[in-house]
């Protein structure tokens, strides 16, 4: 484990504390979990870290790009 120090705004700190309490974990654990969610794990060629980096919940996400980017026709 590496010890580090970060600066948070009062609002961020309070919100993080509340969330940690709700989950029954420490503030440090909450921040570690948040980091793991945003930083992809190292695996294979460098770009493979990004495989499945998001989960939109839409099985047709790659087939409805135009609707998202350009907007759906009325």
């Amino acid at each position: 484990m590496i010890r580090t120090q970060i600066s948070l705004s009062e609002e961020e700190y309070e919100a993080a504390k509340r969330e940690a309490e709700k989950l029954g974990i420490s503030l440090a654990e909450l921040l570690r979990r948040s980091l793991r969610a945003i930083v992809p794990p190292e695996e294979g060629p460098p770009w493979m870290r990004y495989a499945g980096m998001v989960s939109s919940g839409d099985a047709r996400a790659s087939q409805s790009i135009d609707d998202v980017v350009y907007g759906r026709k009325d």
């Binding site: 990004y50 998001v54 099985a59």
Partner: protein
């Protein structure tokens, strides 16, 4: 003569690779794990970035760009006035199809670079006869 490229990468392939929920995720995860020489355009990169901005946020959109920059086998073809003209000609030729300029420029770039396969989930990208990888697997 332009160097031969094995596959053209459309926006759908990049989204399917990055989005674990997509029904084509497993296929594109496997394809990108050991990719051949790949080609795409700056328009595809812009479209993918726009998708992440609209569906998620600026952090995810920047991560998408970092993913593109990390893909060494992927050559990014710049789109200038000649590519735009060729794309517009294709939009006029296929005016009965809801093609975007990004799609049309992709069709042109594939032909100009003698691409053998198109990594896309969009059937319109097969309009000029280059096979879609989703039909080969």
């Amino acid at each position: 003569m332009a160097a031969k490229t094995d596959a053209y990468v459309d926006t759908g392939a990049l989204i399917a690779f990055a989005d674990a929920s997509d029904s084509r995720h497993t296929l594109f995860r496997r394809l990108f794990a050991q990719p051949p020489r790949l080609l795409t355009t700056t328009l595809v990169v812009a479209e993918g970035h726009g998708w992440f901005l609209r569906r998620f946020d600026t952090t995810r959109a920047l991560q998408f760009l970092a993913m593109i920059q990390s893909m060494n086998p992927l050559r990014i073809h710049g789109v200038g006035s000649s590519e735009q003209r060729a794309g517009i000609a294709l939009l006029q030729r296929f005016s009965d199809q809801p093609l975007t300029l990004t799609d049309a420029v992709g069709l042109h770039v594939m032909a100009a670079n003698q691409v053998r396969s198109c990594w896309s989930t969009d059937r319109h990208m097969a309009l000029t006869g280059i096979p879609l990888v989703i039909h080969e697997h």
